[in-house]
Each structure stands twice: as structure tokens, then as C-alpha cells.
Subunit: 467 residues, 2 copies
């Protein structure tokens, strides 16, 4: 094919693709745009809640005010989302203790059925006409750089974006969020470590829409650094850096993992090459069947081992980092003992399970133990004498000028190691360690079928991983 | 124990040890010193051979001369050694072709029953009254630095040492040689890679005797560099460097392996700490029995694998380097495929066997295959497309920002690899490769019992290695 032909083909392909993008985007857009009824219902409920919160707040502090924040405030919410976030702002002269007390009182008056939760401040959470409502107290500050806790920053984000996202961009934010949900990269919780709503909005604003964002992402070469306000006052080591327009020292994408950045790039290319609605639909795989699990174990020839225990009673943002730490510790502990790790996953529900798939699950009864070079006389003599009469050890003999012995190995199977106290020498999350001290089970090979009832879907994801 | 006590104890220990050294040395000395009859017999035979060679040489080249070299010339031979080396020297103006022709003619006249062999020149070898006699032609040069081949150097070595080794030192050379034989480190052939006779003589001369040499060696910190004539004109990377007194650019110990240097250090310390005659006696272990082999395989839990083939018809100095190269190639080939090597040995007699003891002899059916980082768009897209529709592969999925697939592994057992053509991709010695192309057998685990008849002793050494 000549260069001209190639160029023409590419051009035509781009045009076809453009048409397809258009039609797919329209279809998704229609699905996720809240309709007039939904909008009005939300607007009514939000207005009543704001009124009620305002009355309660001003009774306690005449200078307080109330505002709605988050995606339902910025019209970037997806049809079916039911979150209303009401922030009650107190002037900075108010004591932190008073703020917390007022906040809870206002919350309870606004949401008589609500209950208290605790993030950085305590706040009140409740349900009103099917909406999940948070009433959160914060300080009203001049600038986001003066904030005393993370929630104080939220009103600044809302202000910044409200001024910039017109209806078209808001629609593109919805599309982008849905796309990120579809590919499993939406959410800045520490389980997902993906793209937050605020980050998504900034990216759409910065690149000027859904499609330009995808086209840019398809060619990203991390680290990608964006600074909409050109005011960065810090550097970051993350694959994606988006300097907060309201805080020059903060990377909005700090929590977003390299894996999710790569995933977004992968699916951006996949979408641009072959636009299709399915990419916007979260893909929950079918739970693995027992027959499939056995078949995969057989086909792969690896040895899966599992440490299973009662899931610590923690919120996901605390639980998953601990599971990840424990997973890292256990894989290192196995690898260090010659049990080569192939791939590993942590999963949690009622119980938690650390699944490590091993390429090598058995080792010989002996292991090499290298001593000092023979010429380092003191050490060498000590080493030689220590093993010369050890009937359990082979050697010492000499290799490349060093003494070497072969000693009985502490663990010849991965199961022995996992069932031993040495498991507690690896880095475990604190609550995971406590749970293991209480009780745990080791499963090996086909014993994994015992996980199917609780973790069928997660096991599907493990054995058939996708980008 | 106080420091003074410790010093006194050490002093006493040294004295006791000194007495023991004396008596052990005397005993060994008596055994290895040739008696008057043996000496006279050798002297008679040598004199007759020299006469005969001289007559034959001068007939062809009036300016030729003949001399005896080697340990029997320098009186450093051990009782029972039967080597007489006769060198026929021609002036340097003689053509190399003439030298070779004259040399063979003189050899055949001197040793009518002899046969030709080939080192750097052809020469004649034969047996006379129980002695192994070599008649070797060489050039007579002004200095060893002008030599045209290695044999030309030998007369210079003899001259150098004859002038320096008195009877006491000659006796200590015999002791040292016997000690090196006892510990298996004597001989500069490429199978042993130990201490040559000339090197032994230089070390005894340099340190002033057997005992001072052992005391020095016990404390060597390689690289050890000796230069008796202080005339080195080159540097060397060997653990032991002894600059040839007759050639400033040559390391006499070049062939001596780090293992043999360390072995000499080890046994030097062992002898000084507890002098005993047994150290002077080569220790040939009992051939391994079938029951012992099975027991060791069981106790060690490793998987021994063997490649066995007809031993190439080569002299040891050519065969063993090729076996070593093949051993290295095969161990690397196994290691690269995940079959972790524990220890390996090459052995040869009628057949040759490369024995590799494996810690891991089986691998899963799949292997990880890491692709490019997702952000390197061209490569990444190519990689993804290559595997996305491959029903044999798992993935591609994303880990740490890279594509990863899991593909069927080429070999899941070490035997499969060893029995495949890929064995010929590793670095093999040329003649070993030819032999394998012809035919070879792979033995695994208890099939090793088939080696016992031919290699019982070598297998003993492998399973019970000593310094």
C-alpha cells in the first residue's frame, strides 16, 4: 500500500469512527441523563433539606450558611445516583468542638431518622425519599489553602466547577464518569484507587470534553502533569498529577493507581478504535463454577494457596490497604522461601481471603547455605567448625573459593509455612494480624472450591483477568 | 580465661602441634623419598637415554645438545614416579620443520619401541625398564622470553630451580607435592586445575619450605601475588599469581582454580591444627551403592537429571573444558526455564554424564509474559492485539501499568527440555554437541542408578562433597 493510500485509509477510518463515537455517545447520553421528573424531585428534596438545615444552623450561629455540594449540585450526576450532600459552613472563629456539636445538632434536625458517622468530623447521614443524604459541618474560609480538614475544601471545588461547567461539559462529565464506571476505574476509595468525581470533572474541563479527553489519554506518557491554574507549589511522584485549582500543593489524582491510569488509556484507545455501548457498562463476571475452578487449576498447573480469616470490621478505606499490605507481606514471605509467586489477589466480604497462586509450592528437603570465602580465616574457620560435625548437613565443601553447606530446609511446602508461626514475621496489616491470631484456615489447590460460595465473582476475576 | 592464659594455651598448642608436624612429616618423608636403588636405577636409565639421544641428535645437527628436565632431573620426584623427560635442544637457526623431523628421528632412535604423540610439537613417547620416557625436541634460546612454544621454556625452569633447591628444599618439595596429591589439588591439567610441579617448587623455594608455605597459605588473602625475581611485566586476574622467574609476562599459577587455592588453604589450616598422615593420602571414596543413592535422593528431596552420551575421544585437557562448558550451558538452559539448579557435576569415562541436581524440576503449564507499558502506544497496541484473541493465553491484563499475559509454557518438566532440540541452543562444547547429535539419554531421579556401575566413585563425591 502506498503512503497516500495509507493516509487516505486512516482518514476514512477516523471519519467512520467519528460517526460511531457520535451515535454511541448519544445512546449512552440518553440513558444516563436524569430526566425532568428526576431532576425536579431531587431539586425539591434538596431545597427542603437546605431550608431546614439553614434554619437549624442560624439558630445556633447566625453567621452560618448552607450549601449543596457534589455532583447533584453541579448537575454532573448520573440518572439513578441518589446522593445529596449538604454542607453547613460555620465561620472560622467558631471552636472546632462547637462546630462539631452544632453540626451534629443541625444534622439530626434536618434528618430526624439519620445516624452519626465519622470521617474527619462527625456528621449525620440519613435517607429522605430514597435519596442518601449527608449533612456535614465545615469551616467557611477565604481560600482552600487555609483549610483545617479535607471537608473544608469541598465547597471550593463546587464553586470552581460551577463557574466553568456549562450544560455541554456537564453532559460530558456524566459520560466520562459512566465510562470510568464501565471500565472499573471510577472512585477514589482505597479499594478502587481510581478517578474521583472531582478529578473527572477537572479532566473534562481541562481537555474540553469527553472525546478530547479520551484522545489525549490514549497518548498519555505518564507522568502526566496538568495544572489548570498554573500555580503548582509542589511536585508529585504519581503517574497522573492534576494540581488542585483551589490548592497549589495538592494532587487531585494522588490516589489514582498506575494500573487505573493504564486501564483508562487502554479503554480510551479501545473506544476510539471501536466505539461501543458495552464499554460504559460495568462488567460483573459470572461467579466461577466449581467445574470451571477445577478446570482452571488443572489447565494452569499452578498451586493456589489461600489464607482465609474473619474479615476485620473496618470500612473499606481502612480494610483494603491492610489487605494489600498483608498480601504483599505474605507473597514476600513465600517468595523468600523459594515458593515462587505467580499472581495474587485479596478479597473480602464476611471473611477475607488472601489468594496467592504459586508457580512453585514445594522445595527440596535441603537448601544451600553459603558461608564466607575460605580466605577470611576467622569467619571461615568458625563456619567450617559449625557444620563439619553436623550430621544433618551436607558439606561444608568449597565452591568458587567459599564454604557451602546444604542444610535441612525449614519449610518444604508453602502450606507448612502458611500454617506456621513464621507467617506472623511478615508485614501484615494490624487488624489482619489480630484476626489471624484469632483463627485462620489455609486452603491449597482444589480446596479453593470452599471459597466459591462467598467469592465466586472475585475468583472469576482472578482466573480470567481483563485489562 | 584471662588473656595471659589464652596466650599461654595458644603457645602450648603451637608447641604440641610443632612436635606433631615434625613426626608426621618424618613419617611421610620416609615413605616418599626414593631409596638409593631407585635413584641409581633411574640415573642409569636416564644416562643411557641421554647418551643415545645425544649421538642421534649430533649426527643431524652437530650443535644440538640434550638435557634431562622435570622432577626426576631436579630430584623432586616422589618414590614410585616413573617419568623421565629428555629434551633435545636445537639452535634457533634450525627451521621448525627440520626441528620436528630431527626430533622424531632422535626420539625413535632413542626409544625404538616408542610411538609419536603431539603436544605443541610432535614428540616420541615410550617405556624403558618400567620408566615412562618422553623425548621432546625444542629450541635452545638465550632467554625464556624468546620462546617459540611452551616446551622451549622447560629447560629454563630446570636451570632456575637446579641452582636453588638444595636437598632439604627438594625433600620439602616432595612433601608438598604429596600433600597436594592427598587433598586432590596436584596437577595443572585442565581436569584438576590445581598446582603444577613447577609451581609447587617455586612456592617451596619462595616460602623456604613445606611448613612455612602451609603457614603462609593458611593466611592467604587472594589475590596472592608472588614475584620471586621482582620483574613482573603484566598483571593477572587469578586468585594466585606467581610470576615465572624465567618470564616476566607469565603467571605460573594461571590454571590453578579459586577452588583449589581455597582447598589448599583449608587443608593447610587443617594440617597445622591437627597434623596427620592421612592428609597426604589421596582419598578415593567408596563407590556409591544403589541403596545409598536411593537414600540420598530421598533424603535430599531434589531431582537429579542426567544427560549421558558417549564420551568424545579426546585427551583430558580437551575433554574436561568441553564438559565444563556443556555443564555451564545446560545449567543455564535449565535455570532460564525456571528449573532451579541446586548443584551440578560432569563426569567421564567410557560414557560422559552431565549431572544436574534440581531444586525445581516441574513448572506450571503457564508462564508470565510481560509486555510493554500501556503508555508506549505502538508497542502496547501491537502486544495487546497479538494476545487479545489468543485462546491459549490468559489476559492481556494490566499490572503496574504494563500489559501481562500468561501463555502456555514451552517445557513444564526438565526432562522435556533436555529431550528437546532446544538443548542444542545452549552453549555446548563442540565435540560434546557432536556426541549428543549422535545419541544421548536423559535420566531422572532414581534412573540415576544406571550410572552406578560406571560412575560409583564420582557419584559418591557428588552426594558427599568434601572440601
Amino acid at each position: 500500500m502506498s503512503e497516500e493510500d495509507a493516509e487516505r485509509d486512516e482518514h476514512e477510518a477516523a471519519e467512520t469512527s467519528a460517526d460511531n463515537v457520535e451515535s454511541v455517545v448519544d445512546e449512552v447520553h440518553d440513558r444516563i441523563e436524569p430526566d425532568t421528573d428526576e431532576r425536579e424531585h431531587l431539586r425539591d428534596v434538596a431545597a427542603r433539606l437546605i431550608d431546614s438545615a439553614e434554619t437549624a444552623a442560624k439558630e445556633r450561629c447566625p453567621d452560618a450558611d448552607v450549601l449543596q455540594v457534589g455532583s447533584t449540585a453541579r448537575d454532573t450526576w448520573i440518572s439513578g445516583d441518589r446522593d445529596i450532600d449538604i454542607f453547613v459552613r460555620f465561620p472560622p472563629e467558631v471552636d472546632r468542638e462547637d462546630l462539631e456539636r452544632y453540626g451534629l445538632e443541625v444534622g439530626h434536625e434536618t434528618l430526624p431518622e439519620g445516624h452519626e458517622e465519622y470521617a474527619e468530623h462527625p456528621y449525620v447521614k440519613g435517607t429522605v425519599e430514597g435519596f442518601d443524604v449527608d449533612v456535614v459541618p465545615c469551616f467557611r474560609l477565604e481560600s482552600a489553602t487555609e483549610i483545617r480538614s479535607a471537608v473544608d475544601r469541598t465547597p471550593f471545588h463546587t464553586q470552581y466547577l460551577e463557574a466553568r461547567l456549562d450544560d455541554d461539559l456537564a453532559a460530558d462529565v456524566r459520560l466520562t464518569k459512566q465510562f470510568l464506571k464501565g471500565i472499573g476505574a471510577y472512585g477514589s476509595d482505597l479499594r478502587t484507587r481510581g478517578f474521583s468525581g472531582y478529578l473527572t470533572e477537572l479532566l473534562v474541563w481541562e481537555y474540553g470534553g469527553f472525546r478530547p479527553l479520551l484522545e489525549a489519554a490514549a497518548n498519555w506518557r505518564p507522568p502526566v502533569e496538568l495544572d489548570p491554574e498554573e500555580h503548582a507549589r509542589a511536585t508529585f511522584d504519581d503517574p497522573l498529577v492534576v494540581i488542585d485549582p483551589t490548592d497549589p500543593e495538592r494532587n487531585v489524582a494522588a490516589v489514582c493507581s498506575a494500573e487505573n491510569v493504564a486501564r483508562f488509556q487502554h479503554y480510551a484507545r479501545a473506544f476510539l478504535a471501536a466505539p461501543r455501548v458495552e464499554l460504559f457498562e460495568p462488567n460483573e463476571p459470572e461467579p466461577l463454577t466449581e467445574a470451571d475452578l477445577r478446570e482452571h487449576i488443572d489447565r494452569r498447573g499452578t498451586t493456589p494457596v489461600v489464607v482465609r480469616f474473619a474479615a476485620p470490621d473496618l470500612v473499606d478505606d481502612q480494610l483494603y490497604p491492610q489487605l494489600q499490605k498483608s498480601l504483599d507481606g505474605i507473597t514476600t514471605g513465600l517468595d523468600d522461601r523459594g515458593f515462587d509467586v505467580f499472581r495474587a489477589t485479596a478479597m473480602a466480604d464476611e471473611t477475607a481471603a488472601i489468594l496467592v497462586e504459586l508457580a512453585v509450592s514445594e522445595r527440596p528437603a535441603v537448601e544451600r547455605h553459603e558461608g564466607p570465602p575460605v580466605h577470611v580465616r576467622n569467619h571461615a574457620e568458625g563456619f567450617y567448625e559449625a557444620y563439619a560435625d553436623d550430621s544433618e548437613a551436607y558439606g561444608p565443601f568449597i565452591e568458587d573459593g567459599r564454604y557451602v553447606t546444604e542444610r535441612p530446609r525449614e519449610f518444604t511446602t508453602a502450606r507448612e509455612f502458611l500454617e506456621s508461626d513464621r507467617l506472623f514475621d511478615v508485614g501484615l496489616g494490624a487488624h489482619v494480624e489480630t484476626a489471624l491470631e484469632d483463627e485462620y484456615t489455609v486452603l491449597v489447590g482444589e480446596e479453593l472450591t470452599r471459597l466459591l460460595e462467598e467469592f465466586g465473582t472475585q475468583l472469576s476475576r482472578h482466573v480470567e483477568p481483563r485489562p
